[in-house]
Amino acid sequence: MAALPPYTTLGQRIWHYTFRTIVGLVLFFLIAPILVIIPLSFNAENFFTYTPGMLALDSEAYSLKHYRDFFNNSDWQQAMRNSLMIAPAATLISVGLGTLAAIGLSQSHVPFRRAIMAILISPMIVPLIISAAGMYFFYSRVGLQGTYLGVVLGHAALGIPFVIITVTATLVGFDRSLTRAAANMGANPVTTFFRVQMPLILPGVISGGLFAFITSFDEVVVVLFVGSAGQKTLPWQMFIGLREQISPTILAVATILVALSIMLLTTVELLRRRSERLRGISPG
């Protein structure tokens, strides 16, 4: 803790410590619900509560049975497979379309840029239940309701805004004379895009893709509307589990998901930093 400068008044001193307390409380409020779940998932009983044995740190009170259940139960395995199919597919579509949209919308000659941007971002702002209901009616008309493609497209629509926002932010710092220089040296627009523009906006594309992936991986409302039992994802299975059987397996899954998310974020962030350093964009 940094020493306070000697001229601080009593009031400033009090505020200094109050401020730190508030910050600590906010952090606790955000993290506590997640942390509480982790030990509970190792519960030897089929309850959602801490047993006296757990609190006494009795090793008999802990077990991996819920994890075993997750890996052996075909319902959970099916959900896992679905999630691992749907999320990457939705991410690919979001990244492809979102990146193109961001590049297009950053050109000054495109008319109605703000309006188009607002429309593309709207799935982030409109309440999810409304988007989902809309998708349900629309997708049933065109025969996409209850199909993998439908769920993937629904999730892609939710992921696109994240990609647009992160890529647009990277493009703000993009020097247009680089594409001009490339054109001057004889590179056609496609070559210029893949050799010059894409490598430079890659960090933005990756973060956007990450958000899109997490969105799809965590999403339950759209999948409930647009999907059917065949496309049930992990969040769907957890949601039903909560309603119907209240099994601590849900907690085991939640813990696995939290661990996965942290690993994913860390890996991608490390990769992104490394590539930025290599590219000499940020001072190493």
């Binding site: 020097d175 004379s177 680089l178 001009r180 220089a181 490339a182 054109a183 001057n184 040296m185 004889g186 590179a187 056609n188 627009p189 070559t191 210029t192 050799r195 010059v196 490598p199 430079l200 290599l278 590219r279 000499g280 964009i281 001072p283």
Partner: protein
């Protein structure tokens, strides 16, 4: 301004106009032709249309009217990447994610040149700009001057016949700028490249170019060699923009062939060379260079008119003395004299008489 034959001209602007909004013309009726191997500078204040002209030549802007020809071929409908023109940008525009060698390799790769030939050309181009040891570095690890050298090498490595430079030295400090000016002109002449150079720095234009096109208000005000431009400006704008210039205003009282007499606003009479004046009674603005003002009456022609002047300030600049005078109500009349042992060092308050050879004082548009 058909100063070069259109047949052997390499770059031709033919009645080119450019408007961004459909109303105001940024470039009004530009006619220009350049022979092969020429180093031409487009010089002018910002907003004069010079950069727009360069961008039209590169293909990043399209001409609203008129035609641009390159090697006899109209290029209005050719996209930038098929024009084969090299370009050096003010901010260097090096690709930050590639090494110096990869930057130079880029134009060769897109042309499908084989690896061994590429490496040879890259090596040659880097050595030409004294950057031979820097192939493995990234642009962020280089200084501004080094980056601009690399940018220059990259513009030359694919051996374009025409190279465009958009204020390439604008971001560098004075000393480096002077070294690079010298290097660029040498390279251009050595390789026989046709160069169009855009700058707002008149010293740069004078020292580097074969010819300079002075732009203002979307038009070429004068297109001439540096010495012509400096010594024989065709109008007040050029006289004022190129080099240091003294102006005096008055009315033409007599024209006799190559000589005219002008009555200044305070009644004094002086001789000048009529350039932009045609009749007696016309108002004129005279232009005289500070180093052509004469204080020694013996060096003037017999019967030449002189003006009274009061010394306001004497500035010692080392190689020259710069003296500010009040002449005919103008407090900003500058004379420059060489620092020689017998040279007079004037003191503020001194009253002197000045004059000039009529051929050195040009009566221009008011």
């Amino acid at each position: 301004m058909a100063d070069t034959n259109r047949e052997d001209a390499f770059v031709v602007f033919d009645r080119v106009q450019k408007s961004y909004d459909g109303e105001t013309l940024v470039v009004k009726d530009l006619n220009l032709s350049m022979p092969r191997g020429e180093f031409l500078t487009m010089l002018g204040p910002s907003g004069s249309g010079k950069t727009t002209c360069l961008m039209m030549l590169a293909g990043f802007e399209t001409a609203t009217h008129g035609e641009i020809l390159l090697g006899g071929r109209p290029i209005n409908n050719i996209p930038p990447h098929k024009r084969g023109i090299g370009m050096v940008f003010q901010n260097y525009a090096l690709f930050p994610h590639m090494t110096v060698a990869e930057n130079l390799s880029f134009p060769l790769e897109v042309r499908g040149i084989g690896k061994s030939e590429r490496e040879e050309k890259i090596k040659g181009a880097l050595e030409r700009v004294q950057m031979g040891d820097f192939g493995g570095r990234r642009p962020a690890q280089l200084s501004g001057g080094q980056q601009q050298r690399v940018a220059l090498a990259r513009a030359l490595v694919f051996e374009p016949e025409l190279v465009l430079m958009d204020e390439p030295l604008g971001a560098l400090d004075k000393q480096l700028r002077e070294t690079l000016q010298f290097e660029i002109t040498h390279l251009a002449h050595e390789l026989g490249i046709t160069t169009v150079y855009v700058t707002h720095d008149q010293t740069e234009a004078l020292t580097m170019s074969d010819r300079v096109a002075v732009f203002d208000d979307g038009m070429i005000q004068q297109l001439a060699s540096p010495d012509k431009l400096y010594e024989e400006p065709q109008n007040s704008f050029v006289a004022q923009f190129i080099g240091e210039n003294n102006t005096l205003e008055g009315v033409v009282t007599e024209i006799r062939g190559d000589l005219c007499e002008i009555r200044l606003d305070n009644g004094e009479i002086i001789d000048a060379k009529p350039v932009n004046v045609s009749k007696v009674g016309e108002r004129t603005r005279m232009s005289i260079r500070p180093e052509r003002v004469e204080m020694n009456k013996e060096r003037l022609q017999e019967g030449a008119h002189t003006l009274k002047a009061e010394v306001l300030e004497f500035i010692y600049m080392g190689d020259i003395f710069r003296t500010r005078l009040r002449v005919a109500g103008n407090d900003d009349f500058i004379i420059k004299t060489r620092n020689a042992p017998d040279q007079l060092r004037l003191k503020p308050g001194e009253k002197i008489e000045i004059g000039w050879l009529p051929s050195d004082c040009r009566a221009l548009d008011a």
